[in-house]
């Protein structure tokens, strides 16, 4: 696994800290007004030239939000967030369109380089106006293994690659801000259909102020010809990021979507409250993979991203399937429960998760599987690794409703502790209203043993490689579920995140 070595070495070269993505891009930023009120909403909506219905939707969400209280049931501890002290919109100036590569600020190009987006791809990514030419080149260059990328830089989506390629297949993949203009009938119909406006405090906040994100529509019977990918990056200081992703897989279609997240190192906490909605119709399948590596704060717990995210899928159609796969190593605080509502008969939901906490990180995370239809199946495999002085809680819900005869769930929660100053907790809720369901729950907690470490070191692996190998082994069942593009990066990330966790 030479790639791991490279990544680890790259990280070591950074003097400041062990966080690979902790750079700031020096680009002139345009900020919205500080604080949250109706004017802020109008400003954001105005920036996007949004139609009236969209503004009204946001304002409605805002008014509801003002009457809601921040949830406090999670096992995380942080000082109160000053919602009036934040910017709700930040964008690189003039970043929306570039006529040619020469116009793209070098800093932005460098950012993509540091994010690991191949130069060639970054060029395509940024040279949007010349996309026809670039896409044609790309077509002749590589017919397989392509990944279409949408990059969200603070609040705006910078560019989307391979747009034409996808259009040929009938797949719509674009920033949601564009989709609002180009496909209002789809956005209007499905926005908030899976995560209602008033679902929870953070989702409602997102509904009011979201500035961009990705929109995907895969038409009937279409197998999306490439992996779709989004890179989210928070850059501006004192700004929250609220992206909104909406993916609709129509009957018999298939799409695999990859999401990567990074943020610079900052002393203050950055708020990130995203909403992801997935909707799968009859016989459709969506695979959603995340590598989340937001800045976790320093070892003393200073700074870091507050990651309060609502991700939910509606397996609406018969035989539909949604699979969430995630590798989460970042964020100071994580509050996140990717869920599946299994409405269609025979539909399936899966959740494969690796969560690593180190330093002072806190994570309260898990999954919800709501069985409504007959013969619905779900599977939850959660691997939690706690190190340093971090604290991690798996919180899950498996709920089987009265009509969901023949429902099945299998849940496996494994926790691995490294050192003796971290915590791991498991809080599974299981409920069923039909006797005709089969629910299985397995849980284990183990400690990375000194014997295992010594064994690996005796064979020649240094301590950090040994930890990485042992942790990769612990996570194997989940790593196997990741798309190739992410698997290598994810394995490397595990090692890097746990550097210095032993001895």
């Amino acid at each position: 696994m030479p790639a791991i070595k490279e990544t680890i070495e790259d990280v070591r070269r950074l003097e400041a800290d062990k966080y690979k993505y902790g750079f700031t891009t020096e680009i002139e930023q345009e900020f919205g007004p500080k604080g949250l009120n109706e004017e802020t909403i109008r400003f954001i909506s105005g920036k996007k030239n949004e139609p009236r219905w969209m503004l009204d939707w946001r304002l409605d969400a805002y008014r509801r939000w003002t009457r809601m209280a921040e949830p406090n049931w999670a096992k995380v501890d942080y000082p109160p967030i000053d919602y009036q002290g934040l910017h709700y919109y930040a964008a690189p100036k003039n970043a929306s369109k570039y006529k040619n590569l020469g116009e793209v600020p070098q800093e932005l190009l460098d950012t993509y380089k540091k994010l690991g987006i191949p130069r060639k791809e970054a060029e395509v990514l940024l040279g949007l106006e010349g996309a026809g030419q670039s896409a044609a080149e790309a077509r002749t260059e590589a017919l397989s293994g392509q990944v279409a990328v949408d990059a969200v830089f603070d609040s705006v989506s910078v560019a989307t690659t391979f747009k034409e390629e996808l259009a040929k297949a009938g797949v719509i993949f674009m920033p949601i801000s564009e989709a609002i203009h180009e496909h209002p009938e789809l956005v209007r119909k499905y926005l908030g259909a899976v995560v209602p406006v008033t679902d929870n405090f953070f989702a409602t906040l997102n509904s009011a102020v979201f500035s961009d994100g990705s929109f995907v529509y895969v038409p009937k019977g279409v197998r999306c010809p490439m992996e779709l990918s989004t890179y989210f990056r928070i850059n501006a200081a004192g700004a929250g990021q609220f992206e909104r992703t909406l993916i609709i897989a129509d009957e018999g279609s298939y799409v695999s979507y990859l999401e990567g997240c990074t943020a610079p190192m900052r002393d203050e906490n950055q708020l990130h409250a995203a909403v992801v909605e997935l909707l799968a119709f009859d016989d459709a399948e969506i695979k959603y993979s995340t590598v989340q590596n937001w800045w976790p704060g320093d070892v003393e717990g200073k700074g870091g991203v507050y990651n309060f995210v609502t991700k939910r899928a509606n397996c609406h159609g018969r035989n539909s399937k949604v699979s969430w796969t995630q590798v989460e190593t970042g964020s100071a605080i994580t509050w996140k429960y990717p869920s599946c509502v299994l409405k269609g008969d025979n539909s399936r939901g899966e959740f494969y998760s690796i969560a690593v906490t180190n330093g002072r990180q806190q994570a309260d995370t898990g999954s919800k599987m709501i069985h409504l239809g007959r013969n619905t199946k779900s599977r939850i495999i959660s691997k939690g690794i706690s190190a340093g002085r971090s604290d991690q809680t798996y919180r899950g819900l498996v709920s089987v409703h009265g009509k969901a005869e023949g429902a099945r769930n299998f849940t496996q929660c494994d926790s691995l502790l490294i050192g003796d100053t971290c915590g791991a907790h498991t809080v599974p809720y299981v409920e069923t209203r039909t006797p005709k369901a089969v629910l299985e729950h397995e849980a284990s907690t183990s400690r990375l043993s000194e014997e295992q470490l010594f064994y690996a070191r005796q064979r020649g692996l240094d301590e950090e490689s040994a930890v990485a190998l042992l942790v990769n082994g612990f996570c194997r069942e989940v790593l196997q579920e990741l798309p190739m593009e992410f698997a290598v990066e994810a394995q490397a990330l595990l090692g890097v995140s746990l550097e210095g966790s032993v001895g």
Partner: protein, 254 residues
């Protein structure tokens, strides 16, 4: 090759107290030789193997252990491995989720990098693995399983020797490799070890019993009791012990 001189060691315990385990062990294994250490339980044999390979928890309070002119005491376990020190564990640990081939390849490449050598190519590695596995009657299916997970005692010991064949260390320590083996497995393991014998390589075989030595034919046999080497001789010493037992060394101490 390996020179241990008057080595005195404590096990680290709570509140700075230590228990004296090795009380002045001296031993020299030249390249090309196989030495056996025999002795009763608790005499310090396994401690010696852990000390040589660099396990934590021991404190050297006197003496030295040198490997090819390098002081082992100052080296990390992985550096000792890269220098050619291999320990076949008495109780090989399980590593869930890591296939044996992945583990060995990572280890081999880590050692090669540390020595400034190129990493081994996958086809080359697989060829070696097939040969080594065939010699030890290890199936391809076994190689795909996670390291030592759900292996029988005998399978674990065979896997230790498989790793030795793959890593080609300069020096092997076999810590009770014969325990838990039936006679067929013992023979197979011993044959594996014998293919590693050569004039460039040294071995230290720790055992209670003669039967492994029937196959390995050591050049020198040491008897260890209560933290000291009490007697050193040729292969005949092992046979004598088999008959008379360790009684004559009991209670002697230092």
């Amino acid at each position: 090759m390996l020179v241990i001189d008057n080595l005195q060691v404590c096990v680290k315990m709570e509140e700075g107290k230590g228990r004296h385990i090795l009380k002045g062990v001296s031993l020299e294994v030249p390249a090309g030789q196989v030495h056996a250490i025999m002795g009763p339980n608790g005499c310090g044999k396994s401690t010696l193997s852990y000390l040589l390979s660099g396990r934590e928890g021991y404190e050297i309070i006197g003496g030295s252990m040198m490997f090819e002119g390098q002081d082992l005491a100052g080296m990390e376990p992985e550096d000792r491995a890269a220098a050619g020190m291999f320990l076949s564990f008495q109780y090989p640990v399980e590593i869930p989720g890591v296939p044996i081939l992945t583990f060995v390849k990572e280890a081999l490449n880590a050692q090669r990098r540390a020595r400034g050598e190129d990493e081994t190519s996958t086809p080359q590695f697989m060829k070696l693995a097939r040969e080594a596995a065939a010699q030890l009657d290890i199936t391809h299916e076994m190689l795909k399983r996670p390291v030592n997970v759900d292996f029988s005692g005998g399978e674990k010991k065979r896997m230790e020797i498989f790793q030795a064949l793959m890593l080609q260390p300069k020096f092997l320590i076999l810590d009770e490799t014969d325990s838990g083996l039936d006679i067929d497995a013992l023979k197979m393991v011993a044959e594996g070890v014998n293919t590693l014998r050569g004039k460039e390589r040294g071995m230290l075989v720790i055992t209670h019993y003669q039967r492994l030595l029937d196959y390995l034919k050591p050049d020198v046999v040491h008897v260890m009791a209560a933290g000291c080497i009490r007697e050193t001789g040729g292969p005949e010493l092992a046979l004598k012990l088999e008959e008379a037992g360790y009684d004559k060394y009991a209670g002697g101490g230092a």
